[in-house]
Symmetry: C2
Subunit: 114 residues, 2 copies
DNA sequence: TTGACATGATACTTTTAGGTATCATATAAA
DNA sequence: TTTATATGATACCTAAAAGTATCATGTCAA
């Protein structure tokens, strides 16, 4: 039931793709715009974008003849959760904060303010 | 001098290695013990352990003719920091908590580079 | 000291990743 | 409509990952 982590971790395993995520965190971009930032062909960038999309890390939306890629940061949460399992090995204050976060996420659906 | 994230993300990109990390989170194990949990040869498991070691995610310590592998969870912190950059896309309370954590960790210079 | 055993090291195979080059298609613009 | 352009798709190349099999080495134990 939990989303399959593998495509997400695999997508994060490449530095170009991590850079792309950061870039899209600044603003949505077309494939051509993303490609301008890298010393590789558009086709290569496109492959990276497909992998990012496979991991659910980006949303792709057509705009005329273009495709606009935007960050879907929510797909990173499962990774964050996976990492949180190891918090018990870190320091106590950090652990306390992370526990609070986890509890916070446990009633994640339809959240509203008290 | 921020640690190079790539070996860490690469190590996390394989499901077998992620499983190994959790196993070692329970207790340190020899190579043979780790291998018992997987349907592959000891040599294959050994390769995974080398990659985990390359990422600094495990410590390997000789004990007689054995090698004991133990989790080094601290090596996951940079990943956590990298992910934290995206918190601004999550909800506000979570962002506040994570900001606190980052401030808590602000000893190490130069986060957010890769 | 001999043998058993845990690990190291190497060579080999197969699959996947990352990349290029090229051509096809759909849309915008003239 | 014609042409330019943004993207899609395919074939291909190279390198790295993931795995096996095999043999060497170091250490414990009888």
């Amino acid at each position: 039931m939990p989303p399959n982590l593998q495509p997400v971790f695999r997508a994060l395993g490449d530095p170009t793709r991590r850079d792309i995520l950061r870039m899209l965190g600044q603003e949505p971009m077309t494939i051509a715009e993303v490609s301008e930032h890298f010393d590789m062909t558009r086709a290569a960038v496109k492959k990276h974008l497909v992998m990012l999309s496979d991991g659910g890390l980006i949303d792709v939306k057509p705009r005329g003849r273009e495709k606009v890629n935007s960050l879907n940061a929510a797909a990173l949460k499962p990774v964050f959760d996976w990492l949180s399992w190891f918090d018990k090995f870190w320091d106590d204050r950090l652990d306390a904060l992370k526990t609070a976060i986890e509890k916070d996420q446990s009633h994640d659906t339809g959240r509203h303010n008290d």
